[in-house]
């Protein structure tokens, strides 16, 4: 299990290439990459604030929950903070399991929990101002799926 919280950019392809790459007992790897999206074409950058210390603990706890619920061979979570430009990767998760269903479910679960339980806050800075991204009721509701 690997958890990294960092300001630096990361290369999702290189991370995936190195993930669980020496195993011959896994059949399925799922990855999710979250990217800074410029919906209206006016985004200057996205500021990601976090709570150092709690962030690492919260993510490790979520990853451990996933590893308890599903038989995972490995889990990777990377999440950035700081000022990110459109198109830049914000975060990624990867899960490795014997079977497809486990790898998919665990990645989906990790994303639902990281969304609402990891202490990050996003602010979109555009030419016309800056706004904190509001949490969606649907994101909180999604946790009830698990």
């Amino acid at each position: 299990m690997q958890v990294r919280v960092q300001q630096d950019a990361f290369d999702a392809g290189a991370e995936l290439a190195g993930f669980a790459s020496t195993r011959t007992d896994i059949g399925a790897v799922v990855s999710f990459t979250g990217i800074v999206r410029d919906t209206r074409g006016d985004l200057q950058h996205m500021l990601i604030e976090h709570y150092p210390g709690m962030t690492e603990r919260a993510i490790a706890d979520i990853a451990k929950q996933a590893a308890t619920r599903w038989a995972l061979a490995d889990v990777l979570v990377i999440h950035r903070f700081g000022a990110l430009t459109p198109g830049a990767p914000i975060m990624m998760v990867a899960t490795a399991a014997q079977h497809r269903a486990e790898a998919f479910a665990a990645a989906d679960f990790l994303m639902d929990y990281l969304k609402s339980r990891a202490p990050f806050w996003k602010k979109e800075v555009t030419l016309s101002g800056a706004d904190w991204v509001a949490a969606k009721d649907a994101d909180e509701a999604a946790l009830k799926r698990w």
């Binding site: 979250g34 604030e49 709570y51 210390g53 709690m54 603990r57 919260a58 999440h79 914000i90 975060m91 994303m111 990281l114 969304k115 609402s116 339980r117 990891a118 202490p119 990050f120 806050w121 996003k122 602010k123 904190w132 991204v133 509001a134 949490a135 994101d139 909180e140």
Partner: protein, 81 residues
């Protein structure tokens, strides 16, 4: 006790963290104490349902006890991922 503020809570209060000496027994009592202090706190804590609290880096309720606690943090609902 170290009290931390994040996102728009930090912006409204105007600082990221401060040391507070308090007799408050619960998070709610601490909030009442802060709100009574200055308008900027009152503004930040106007709608408590829009806030979340962590006690010693674990999510908690507003009625959580503060005995032995070293760090309390206030922030809006998280938007990770």
């Amino acid at each position: 006790m170290n009290v931390m503020y994040f996102a728009w809570v930090r912006e409204r209060i105007g600082l990221p963290q401060e040391q507070i000496v308090t007799d408050a027994q619960t998070v709610a009592e601490l909030v009442a104490e802060l709100v009574a202090r200055e308008d900027r706190y009152a503004a930040a804590f106007a709608d408590i349902t829009a806030l979340r609290v962590a006690v010693d880096q674990e999510l908690a309720d507003f009625d959580a006890p503060l005995a032995g606690v070293r760090e309390v943090a206030f922030f809006p609902p998280m938007t990770g991922g």
